[in-house]
Symmetry: C5
Subunit: 355 residues, 5 copies
């Protein structure tokens, strides 16, 4: 982490608007292209590493879905952009992996930016920048890395009877977004389970900074999830309301349904956010409870033995004239007195409900 900080120079990188600058982490410049052409009758899949294969496939009455994996081969993406008439700002945002979710309407196409979130096996949350260009008869999706979120979707396209085969590119766009939002629901559910685990830990573990740290990490995580997902709600809302001709009347019902789903995702995010926030307060009371318990033990021990020790100290004094010391049963009487004091103390503590 230290190294990371050292590297940063905070130099203002004020590039010309429309200049493409890849801000992701992947370093290989390989690009991987999946092209699916389909309509009611046709269905063929092409996999290629050569960007030119994505140029000539557009046929009449066929829906083409081009999926680009890998965003750091700027040249190839620029070529693609020229071929499909994409605005320079669109190209800039395709490769700017830090851009927030948004939608832009251009004359010929819609451009949508969103984030994929998934938990890998190490329980950490990964973010992937995605974008999508939706035109008449084609959809181009751009991914940083190869994910498996769309496998179900591809299978559904291969199914001749599915609604997808009988619909236009706008329905494919909806199907992609639907897959993304379904994925969000899964991520939020997983986060919810993590929060429940954390709650259990908070109650059972001995207070220590790991727990504080853990709660704080969950706070950060839900804030980042929120930042990645919440803007998509507005995007879908605008998609539903847009008068853009690419989106058919029939698809609006589906978009409205999608909007309900993203609203539900957002409500769940808020729910877990409030619960994580509440955890810190609760943890504070738990620490205080523990400290209270510790203090009680100390107080009970000290309160019982300090006066008794004082009494023992009295008869350890070397005064010449201490009559009690010479009493035959003095020692036994003293023990008796001490036991009485001890019992009275116990009764006192029990009354205070400290024992």
């Amino acid at each position: 982490m230290k190294n990371k900080k050292k590297k940063k120079s905070y130099k203002v990188k004020n590039l010309s608007p429309g200049t493409m600058a890849y801000k992701g982490k992947k370093e290989s410049s390989l690009i991987d292209i999946d092209i699916i052409n389909y309509n009611q009758n046709i269905y063929n899949v092409v996999n290629s590493k050569n960007i030119e294969d994505a140029f000539s496939l557009k046929e009449k009455d066929v829906i083409t879905w081009i999926n680009i994996n890998g965003l750091n081969n700027l040249e190839d993406i620029e070529k693609l952009g020229k071929n499909y008439g994409l605005h320079p700002l669109t190209l800039e945002d395709i490769v700017n992996t830090q851009h927030r979710p948004k939608m832009d309407e251009f004359e010929d196409y819609l451009f949508i930016v969103f984030k994929m979130l998934y938990y890998k096996s190490d329980d950490e949350l990964y973010y992937e920048h995605m974008s999508m260009v939706v035109g008449e008869g084609f959809v181009i999706t751009f991914q940083e890395a190869d994910g498996d979120v769309f496998d179900d979707l591809r299978e559904r396209i291969s199914n001749v009877r599915g609604r997808l085969r009988n619909s236009n590119s706008d329905y494919l766009m909806y199907a992609i977004l639907d897959a993304v939002v379904d994925n969000y629901l899964t991520v939020i559910e997983a986060f919810g389970d993590k929060v429940e685990d954390l709650e259990d830990t908070v109650f059972s573990a001995e207070p220590n900074n790991d727990v504080s740290n853990n709660i704080q990490a969950h706070k950060r995580e839900i804030l980042k999830i929120r930042r990645s997902i919440v803007p998509l709600r507005e995007v879908i809302n605008r998609l539903e309301k847009t008068e853009c001709t690419i989106i058919n009347e029939k698809t609006h019902n589906f978009l409205r349904d999608l909007y309900d789903h993203i609203v539900q995702v957002n409500e769940n995010i808020e729910l877990y956010r409030e619960m994580v926030w509440g955890l810190m307060d609760m943890y504070m009371t738990i620490i205080s409870n523990k400290m209270n318990e510790v203090m009680k033990v100390l107080t009970i021990i000290a309160t019982i033995f300090i006066p008794l020790t004082f009494i023992a100290g009295i008869y350890g004094m070397n005064f010449e004239n201490i009559p009690e010391l010479h009493h035959k049963y003095g020692y036994y009487i003293l023990w008796g007195v001490m036991v009485v004091i001890f019992i009275m103390m116990l009764i006192y503590f029990r009354r205070k409900k400290w024992l």
Copy 2:
């Protein structure tokens, strides 16, 4: 709980939109159908296990209320959907028991999703997914399990003179929603009493993690109640404002009244939410008060006896030349001094209001 977590795989279940997937807990695939046909003169009730009985009953000038209990017989529900011309997305949402409350307007019918909440005898809150299709002359309600919320309503339908018998299906829809919202008021009232009990516990109980846990559980509960109820407010607001022909002018007055009721429910939810939130803060002060009390006891005992023990220690030393030890009344004088110190300490603590 551990087991539950193990089972979850967080696999993205990206089904084709319009695909029905039952997400509830009930496993039996039995379906239970109550059909009520009524108008000003007619009133008959049919109970059946066979979904086909719900298809042919639609007669002219008769209101038909079909209540379906059990959502996991997907085939039957699909058949019903085809018979009544329901959109695939509607069917998907009928059986998706995790869907949030919402309203969809279709050409021929209104579709409303909402939640039933009730406390069972074990003081835990149960959620039930419900949905309702309202068409011209018929209402179909879908329940996960058989509840008794509508018993009063059924009785009112059987009453020849009631307004229900003289009204259309939109008034039946209103009457059903009214029963639901009345039920919410009862649930919130019960929750409010639980919060008051909790407040009493917080004050009387010795601080321990059960109390923290209990407050946190109430926080969770009110957050979940809120999530289940609050969206219905928007649904009812839209119902009141919709220009859909199914809803007659006359019913708008009633829907406005219903809207006032759901607003009141929401206000009560916010009220109790703020009170539960405040409880955690208050509990923190109570713990601190207790700790303060514990510390005072310790401090009083230690402050009184530690100096006295020191004095006793002094005269327990074995120096050859300690003149006090040889004084005839040394021991008695020392006792006097100690009593004086003791009394002065008591006065000091009383001045500080620690005693």
Copy 3:
């Protein structure tokens, strides 16, 4: 309180909409009716226990104000409703003492629900449900119990020269609401003084659970005040903007002024709410301050005497060969060493500003 909880059954009381159900506490079914008829020249007052007296009095060019005290004689109120053509929902809300403030516009009349709040001598806040029907030429107000809020108003009506005598029923409605809002201002002012008293208590009292309890009670109180008053703001706003013919153009200026007043009431509520909320935080720091003080006393005493006691313990040991013990002035030297240690400790604590 226990009993109260036992009684509650949380049975859903889903009555037919428009069914009247008195939910208040008053048990006598007596009804007390004050009728005032007035215009520029006429002024007469009738007091009656018989509801029929309220039916025939409506004359041309005379404003009639009928004030009903007591809401649990449902029959009488229903008769009145029929006589004046009130909607069943209006009748339901007149006697539903738990209904939130609202306004309904009907064809012939406006219906307004609001709450009266007042502190009785026992410093507790009482809520009274009130409602008002405003028609062309008459105003009917419904009260749970006989209050004195409108005494000033009645006096002003009796004054021939007052604006009331020259105005229509809408101005009487305004005058009643104005009296209510003035009353709110008084209640909030009284609450503000209670908060100031509480603040004084928090500072002066020894920390104990009564104080926490007291703050929590004030939180509850302001939340309930808010719930009773805030919705009236929206009611008055809608009254000002309504195009209902009952309200004359001239009265709008007054309603706007009234709106300013209710906004001021709401601002004061928010002000005191934030102050009460802040009190809990402040109380927490006060408890911590006290504990800090307690701990300091303990630490000072222990830190001074524990080392000294240790030294005394050293020379209380029975080793045969402890040369210091045989020194002629050993005892005196030791006292000297102890005094030096004592003084150094005092200096140390003073530097730490603990003394």
Copy 4:
């Protein structure tokens, strides 16, 4: 303070709307009137105690600014109101010193209520109720007491070349409000400095209730400032957007600028509010830090000396057969052991970073 509370009776003072009731603190009924008449060529100033002087001065093509100091001579103000055709509600609000800032548009004039805030030498914040009537060719301002806020303004009027001399009464209104808002900026700046001082105190002072009290007092102060200033934002916004003919097109630019200023004032208020709120949290951590430090001292002393005292106690026992006591160097060996224990303890504490 006690006395103040005793005096309050919380009697609802429901006066007839439009009834003037002075609620301020000033008791003298003297009134002090400053009249300035000016246009491009004319400029004269009159000071008078006689309200009639304010009636006849209105000439054609001359702007008249009448400034009334003192609001408790209700008769005079009523006469003035009649002379200038002011609505009774306007008169009521002129003398109701507790009214919140607002704007009313009447046919012939605009009526604006606002507050003057200033710190006197005793660092306490004073509030002064002000109002302003703006008509075609005249402005009347009402002040509780004589302030010096408008001295600069008067000087600017006396300057022949100033924009004021060439503008209408609406520009004078703007100039007065501009002076008020400039004054707010100064007050907020002073409050900001007080908050910074408070922050210093919180860090340097030994925790005690004065600090808590001080933070709470600042909370109260900023809440009250906010309540006095924030509503003026809406007033100025409406002034800018009003279509009232008194306000010329040319003045709108200035009002928009004024609106920017009042928005900035509000942003500063929110900034300081959040900072004061944060102070309480920070103060809590500071108290805890101090307590932590106190506890460490206690723990270090007790942990070092309690075991050593125990060892000394062991060899203070009077058993006949304790071989160590008879060892020639027993005493010296024991000292060695004790020193070793002491050093090990110090190392332990240093490792824990407690020393």
Copy 5:
């Protein structure tokens, strides 16, 4: 800091609106002017100290960018204002370095105020007031001090092929704002890293007031960043929506993109604000954890040794008749008993998980 406070007099400086008053810190009255003239073919740069050079350069079909460094030479700026027909309020706001970001539309030009933020090497945040006048064919920017934010931009202008050279003054305005917003992103990123460092410190450092102070300082910083940046969002939103003729249709796409960027900046600000706020809570739990640990050490030591010391005290008493003392192995038996007690205590603490 004390001095600074002394200097402030809180005198209301109510200057005539449109009066220029420099409120910045720079004292030299030197002014530094950079003038760039360009179009598709022409490109020349002039640097001058003489304000008159900025008057005559406006040629047809050439875009002129005049950058003024230094705001305290009021005369020069006034001359410039007269030359370009700037409104007095514009001139006032150009030199009022405390003005919040805003946009004013005048007939001939747009006026935009914004802030530059940057971290210097000392890790402190500096604010610089900037403003911009955009007219047909020219842009004038006003800076307090010479910054390097626009160096990239100047280079891009010098590039013949760039979009800037083929665009109008509105695109130059966009390019300047884009550079500013890019700079914001960098500042926020740097702040984010500071927050992460702070979080590390909070976890690792021993609790002390520096940490509290540090968190509070970060709170202040993010609040001030927010105040400087957030209003620009509204400015850009209005720029995008304005119908002012200076802004061409083509530029709207770019302004929308810029709006997305400023929204992202604001989201990041909110994210870090919530994280800094959460830090204080977390720090509180960390302090409590540490105190808990301290208390445990004290309690363990005291609980083990106080009873043992009591036992030793018993056998240090000087009673004549204590039989145990005369037992041959009494001393050894006692040691055995003490070791057993010690071990039992250890087991007890381990069970409580305190060890």
